[in-house]
């Protein structure tokens, strides 16, 4: 299973990497929004983990564009937000995100979530 982690913090990407290591995930990385959009379109991952506060294009906009494009609409988008306010969560859901994680998040919870997505038949591919 292919998944994309988009976060401007290298350490956060590394954490996701380490968390999902060894379970035959193909992990793609992006350091900003535009890059995330490009990679998502090119690689068509099953899951995208999107940080909201990113340079060039923020996570909400990336999510919106992915969900408005028929080719990428089926990608499961999970927001990673450092902002715990309801406003941010609502904005994320409004932009079409399927789920969200608030930083700091539990790597095991992330792993569980990813597993759930993998086992959902429609999402397989």
């Amino acid at each position: 299973m292919k998944l994309l982690i988009a976060d401007d913090e290298q350490a956060v990407r590394a954490l996701v990497h380490v968390t999902l290591e060894g379970d035959d995930y193909e992990i793609l990385e992006a350091a900003d929004g535009l890059e995330a959009l490009e990679v998502a379109r090119d690689e068509n991952p099953s899951l995208v983990l999107l940080d909201i506060m990113m340079p060039r294009l923020d996570g909400l906009e990336v999510c919106r564009q992915l969900k408005s494009d028929p080719d990428t609409r089926d990608i499961v988008v999970v927001m990673l937000t450092a902002q715990a306010q309801d406003r941010d969560r609502d904005q994320g859901l409004a932009a079409g995100a399927d789920d969200y994680f608030t930083k700091p998040f539990s790597p095991l919870a992330l792993l569980n979530m990813v597993e759930r997505v993998r086992q959902t038949p429609s999402q397989a591919g």
Binding site: D8, E9, A11, V12, A14, L15, V18, T19, A31, D32, M53, M54, P55, R56, A82, Q83, A84, K103, P104, F105, S106, P107, L108
Partner: protein, 763 residues
């Protein structure tokens, strides 16, 4: 002064005399007339008797003649006898005539003698004829008679006798005339006396008119004028009698009344003037000016009771040296002991003289000498029952108040007190208005006042600068023109929109009617900005805190729950360590800002070897640097720099850290130290992304971050340069930056070389 009475007495006496004289004249004249009348009657009787005898004598002559002629003709003895009888009768009559003519003998005697002579010659001639008859008969008698001697004698006698009677008649007429003259004389005398009496009466009347009547009229009209209140015309009669004395008294009365009226008039004038005096100084001057002509005082002091009941000096007038005010104030406690306050509070005017004798203490003696006064009048100023203060009138000479002056000062005191009350009230109102005005204009919020019709009457400075309207332009305009507020935004005169909070209240008069309105307009753009900054801060801090926290949490959880090879564990621990450092730095920065802003950050300046500090600071960077070259360019001899070593290192670390952070492609970071006159300049140059002038605008401000992807990617709190700038300024230096996008940036700062400057900004 007794003249009128004397004159009147004399005049009446004179008049009496005249009347008596008149009466006497009339009495005497009447008596004379009566007498004359009586004598006249006698004379007339006598004349009548005389004339009767004379006539009888004449008749006896006729009867002698006729008897003689009858005898001559007839020779009758009877006729002869009759002739003799008639002759006897004639003789008798002659005697009577002579006797009766005796009073007029001188006049009548010759005539009677002549008649008698003619009678005798006639008798002789008659006898001749008689004898002739007796002897010769009738013929002889006729002859003798023919001679006519007897006839002629008779005729002569008759003539004589007629003449005598005529003389008698003449004499009788003469006597009558003389009697008439006597009457006329008496009449004339009475008339003259009457005229004199009349003249005297006229004279007396005239005199009385002049001496009594006219002055009395003048007095009457003068007293009438006085009664009507005309005090300007002097009372003057020009006579020196009792009426004159009355007039003189009236004149004195008029003068006094007039003086009183003038004093009242001046008092009224004083009242009008003091009412116009709005300052206490002016009031004192006007009061002195008004009272000086009345009582002669040349200086005045005004004391006013304060709220606490103490009398305080408020104004002086007429003192050549205004400095005495200080002396009076200094002597205040002693003056207070001497002042008869109780009497003054009852409204009594109190005069004091020979102050140099009265003053008991050295201080008061000195004060009296300094003031140069000898007498005082203390005039209490009370209005509607409350004691407001005291007007002290001063004389430089000895002056005793008389009762009139005392009363006048009491009255004047009432007038001045009224004005004083008004002046004090005005003073208080002006003070309050001044305070209100000062508050109005000084208050930081915009304030706008309107009339009941919503027209602007005033705006303050804050509102002028907020709206762009000047007070002069705004006055009289409708409220909505000057303050167009929609929602919570004010549209300024120049089209800018400013967020505001407006609170309004009506201005009410004591009766509760609306006389205007007040609007307080607070410019909340700063608050809004702060709100925005605050939420940006929270957002940033939250983000910056959560990112390292995510790493710590995540890697720690993995370490705990998952078996990992040793090198993985090590790298996870390193991530945790780095994230912890980052958290610590962030917290340090936040605390620094907080301490600096509250003034709790204190420098510990000391002489520094700047070269050593630079080298020490660079070494960790060099150790970590992979793509950057770190170089220091230091002059051979550096002066000693004053600074806090930790803080100077922090400044350098921040700048070098930024230089590395914002040159992601790597390159050289050059730290240069140069020596200027009394400072040392340190610059940090990089070859990084650089900034446009627009980006540099708020470079050194709190939480400012250049809005570019590279910058955002680089991460940071937006506090580093702010803290750096504050630290440089606390050292007495300054910091600036130059930058070119794509070329790189230079950040430079100075540090002073003298101890005085260093730390002068720190506390």
């Amino acid at each position: 002064m007794r003249r009128l009475r004397v004159q009147l007495t004399v005049l009446l006496a004179l008049l009496g005399l005249l009347v008596v004289a008149w009466g006497a004249t009339i009495f005497l004249g009447a008596r004379d007339a009566a007498r004359t009348n009586a004598s006249l009657l006698t004379t007339v009787d006598r004349f009548d008797a005389l004339r009767r005898r004379s006539a009888e004598l004449g008749r006896s002559f006729v009867s002698i003649e006729s008897s003689r002629r009858a005898y001559l003709l007839t020779g009758d003895p009877g006729s002869y006898e009759a002739q003799l009888q008639a002759e006897r009768r004639a003789k008798q009559l002659f005697g009577e005539v002579r006797k009766r003519a005796a009073p007029w003998r001188p006049i009548l005697a010759p005539v009677v003698d002549q008649v008698a002579g003619d009678y005798r010659s006639w008798l002789l001639a008659g006898r001749l004829e008689l004898r002739a008859r007796q002897r010769g008969g009738s013929a002889a008698a006729a002859r003798v008679a023919a001679g006519g001697r007897a006839d002629r004698s008779f005729q002569r006698l008759r003539g004589r006798q007629t003449a005598f009677e005529e003389q008698l008649a003449t004499l009788q007429a003469t006597t009558g005339r003389s009697q008439g003259r006597t009457y006329r004389a008496a009449q004339t005398l009475a008339l003259r006396t009457a005229v004199m009496v009349l003249a005297a009466v006229v004279l007396i009347t005239f005199y009385l008119r002049r001496a009594v009547g006219a002055p009395a009229d003048a007095l009457r009209s003068a007293s009438g004028r006085l009664a009507r209140g005309d005090l300007d015309t002097p009372v003057e009669l020009g006579v020196e009698n009792e009426l004159g004395a009355v007039a003189s008294d009236l004149e004195t009365m008029r003068r006094r009344l007039s003086g009183r009226m003038e004093a009242l008039e001046r008092l009224r004038h004083l009242s009008a003037q003091v009412v116009g005096a709005t300052s206490l100084q002016r009031l004192t001057e006007v009061a002195l000016g008004g009272l000086q002509p009345e009582v002669g005082a040349t200086r005045a002091i005004l004391g006013v009771v304060r709220r606490g009941g103490e009398l305080r000096l408020r104004a002086l007038a007429g003192f050549p040296d205004a400095g005495v005010a200080d002396d009076i104030v200094k002597a205040d406690p002693e003056i207070r002991e001497v002042l008869p306050m109780t009497a003054l509070r009852t409204g009594q005017v109190i005069g004091m003289t020979d102050l140099d004798q009265v003053a008991r203490s050295e201080t008061l003696l000195g004060l009296v000498a300094r003031m140069g006064i000898r007498s005082l009048a203390l005039v209490p100023l009370s209005s509607r029952g409350s004691f407001l203060g005291l007007l002290a009138l001063c004389w430089t000479d000895r002056h005793l108040l008389d009762r009139e002056q005392e009363a006048l000062l009491g009255l004047a005191g009432n007038q001045i007190a009224g004005a004083l009350e008004a002046a004090l009230r005005l003073e208080e109102a002006e003070r309050a208005a001044g305070e209100a005005r000062a508050v109005f204009y000084a208050i930081a919020d915009g304030v706008l006042l309107t009339d009941p019709y919503g027209r602007v009457t005033a705006i303050n400075r804050a509102l002028e600068s907020l709206t762009g309207w000047t007070e002069a332009d705004a006055s009289g305009r409708p409220y909505a023109d000057v303050l167009p507020v929609t929602g919570e935004q004010l549209l300024t005169r120049y089209g800018r929109k400013v967020p505001v909070v407006v609170s309004s209240a009506p201005i009410l008069d004591p009766g509760g009617r609306v006389v205007g309105g007040v609007d307080v307009i607070r410019d909340v753009s700063r608050e809004r900005e702060i709100d925005e900054v605050k939420s940006a801060l929270i957002s940033t801090v939250s983000h910056e805190l959560r990112t390292p926290l995510t790493l710590i949490h995540g890697f720690a959880e993995l370490l705990v729950l998952r078996d990992m090879p040793i090198e993985r564990r090590r790298s996870a621990a390193e991530e945790i360590l780095e994230a912890s450092r980052r958290l610590a730095r962030l917290i340090d920065d936040l605390l620094s800002v907080s301490r600096m802003e509250s003034g709790r950050l204190v420098l510990d300046p000391r002489p520094l070897d700047l070269a050593a500090v630079v080298e020490r600071m660079l070494s960790p960077f060099r150790a970590m640097a992979t793509t950057h070259t770190l170089r220091a360019k230091l002059p051979g001899a550096l002066p000693v720099v004053w600074g806090d070593p930790d803080k100077v290192e922090q400044i350098l670390t921040n700048l070098v850290g930024n230089a590395i952070k914002y040159s992601p492609e790597g390159g050289e970071v050059l730290v240069t130290v140069e020596h200027n006159e009394d400072s040392v300049q340190v610059s940090v140059r990089d070859q990084g992304i650089g900034m446009s002038p627009r980006d540099m605008g708020q470079l050194f401000e709190k939480f400012y971050r250049v809005d570019r992807d590279e910058v955002r990617r680089a991460g940071g709190t937006g506090l580093g340069l702010y803290i750096t700038k504050r630290l440089v300024e606390m050292h007495g230096g300054h910091i600036w930056a130059e930058s070119w996008p794509g070329v790189g940036s230079v950040f430079a700062f100075t540090l002073p070389t003298s101890a005085e400057l260093a730390g002068s900004r720190g506390r």
